[in-house]
């Protein structure tokens, strides 16, 4: 018996200009079949113009347990947002 075929994560870009969005996953023996199956499974109703398939084993995810600690550095750097800066009255196009 062959082992189970690997799991692939599927990303679809709906239209030009948009980004690829994760739409789901599927099993397939290789990348080419994963792509074909993803076409049949996730774009039957013209949901997309571009598909990426990635072996699930190639993805490393951040852990929800460390979420706060992991993303904390973002919280104390408000100056990274344009809204942090005051614009004097009367300045146009800024």
């Amino acid at each position: 018996m062959s082992g189970p075929s690997p799991l692939w994560e599927v990303f679809v870009r709906a239209r030009r200009g948009l980004s690829h969005t994760h739409v789901g996953s599927l099993h397939a023996p290789d990348a080419e079949l994963a792509l074909r199956n993803a076409r049949d499974l996730y774009t039957r109703r013209q949901e997309g113009v571009s598909i990426w398939v990635v072996p699930a084993s190639a993805i490393t995810a951040s852990s929800p347990d460390e979420k706060d600690a992991f993303f904390d550095p973002a919280a104390d750097k408000v100056y990274r947002h344009p809204t942090f800066y005051e614009v004097p009255d009367g300045v146009a196009h800024l």
Partner: protein
């Protein structure tokens, strides 16, 4: 619109069940946009953390902590849902080669392809809970996991394809629309996709019956006969009455289920009456009548003894369905092996080139 404030179909934005699916999708995005609390703090009780997330109508995601019983019940429910989609291809597949016109045949093919897709979305959702699809398929083939009782009934005429679309897929939607708000994120998202497509199935089934009921007397009689045979099995799809439903209370507390079996069944009956009138066909229940006090229809309950028999494996087609699935699995083994061997060979070649 959160939790149990489930509005009647005509109140949904965009109207009907599809409107409710859209509302659920919007709610999902909204819940995601609300500041979500992170993981539990080190000294926090995990159970309390989990209850907090559920209370706040936020979604549990695969890597979140969850009670073992929650995980188990979801695996059971999602897997059996997936199996139902796969076995459900058989009764309709039975009519693909005999569909009465090329258009009907093409539609039926597309529909059966959708069912395969639904099975795959659902297996993928189940896998996020830490089981593999192969294990689940194994459980189905061993008879240790079930699929929906409805697919153990035979499709005897073309009109049955219409009755399955209207009644069976209709009942499935009524059941699944609230699942679009289920507390487990991957299941809720799969249900949103499934419901949108299921809605096409229900409408195409209704159109088949409408065409037949406005055709020759023989066609109309065939449509009526199909409804007569599928009505009660469809009502039984909502499961045993509330008093005898073992998993219900816990599932409702966890917000996996949002409405009881009987509530959903009532809702389905109330929808079907008017739809049957437009078809010019009757529902085979002499005691079906409007109850002004309850603002709902009184109806005859399906035969739950029969339901239990079918679930136990003694329905009209149980053996045939399982035998067919096992044969497809066994006889397909060499094809799966060939695909795996080919993939391995290509991977090896690639490595050599890269080296």
């Amino acid at each position: 619109m959160y939790g149990n404030d489930f509005s009647p179909p005509e109140d949904g934005p965009g109207g009907g069940l599809l409107g409710e699916v859209e509302a659920a999708e919007a709610a999902l995005r909204e819940a995601a946009a609300r500041a979500r609390r992170g993981g539990p703090t080190p000294d926090e009780d995990l159970e309390a953390y989990f209850a907090d997330v559920i209370d706040a109508d936020q979604k549990i995601e695969p890597r979140d902590w969850m009670p073992e019983a929650y995980r188990k019940t979801l695996i059971r429910q999602i897997a059996q849902h997936a199996h139902s989609e796969i076995i459900g291809m058989q009764p309709e597949g039975n009519w693909i080669s005999r569909a009465p016109s090329l258009k009907r045949k093409a539609i039926l093919l597309a529909k059966v392809q959708d069912e395969a897709g639904h099975g795959l979305y659902l297996y993928a959702a189940a896998e996020t809970l830490g089981v593999s699809r192969d294990e689940l398929v194994e459980l189905l083939l061993n008879g240790r996991q079930k699929y929906s009782s409805i697919f153990n009934y035979p499709t005897l005429t073309w009109a049955d394809v219409g009755a399955i679309g209207w009644l069976v897929d209709g009942a499935a939607i009524v059941n699944q629309v609230p699942l679009c708000r289920c507390s487990y994120g991957p299941y809720a998202r799969a249900m949103i996709r499934v419901c949108k497509e299921e809605s096409f199935h229900q409408r195409q089934g209704y159109e088949i019956l409408y065409t037949l009921s406005h055709g020759t007397p023989a066609q109309k009689a065939m449509a009526q006969d199909a409804i007569d045979r599928w009505w009660y099995p469809s009502l039984a799809m909502f499961g045993p009455p509330d008093a005898e439903s073992p998993h219900s209370a816990q599932s409702m507390a966890w917000k996996i289920k949002r409405f009881s079996n009987d509530e959903l069944r009532q809702r389905f009956v109330d929808m079907c009456v008017q739809q049957a009138e437009v078809l010019g066909l009757t529902l085979p229940d002499p005691d079906l009548r409007w109850n002004d006090e309850r603002q709902s229809y009184d109806y005859t309950q399906p035969d739950y003894d029969e339901l239990m028999q079918v679930i136990k494996g003694n329905g009209p087609c149980n053996r045939q369905r399982m035998e067919h699935r096992r044969r497809a699995h066994d006889e397909g083994a060499w094809v799966r092996e060939a695909a795996a061997a080919y993939a391995a060979k290509r991977a090896e070649k690639k490595e050599k080139v890269a080296a």
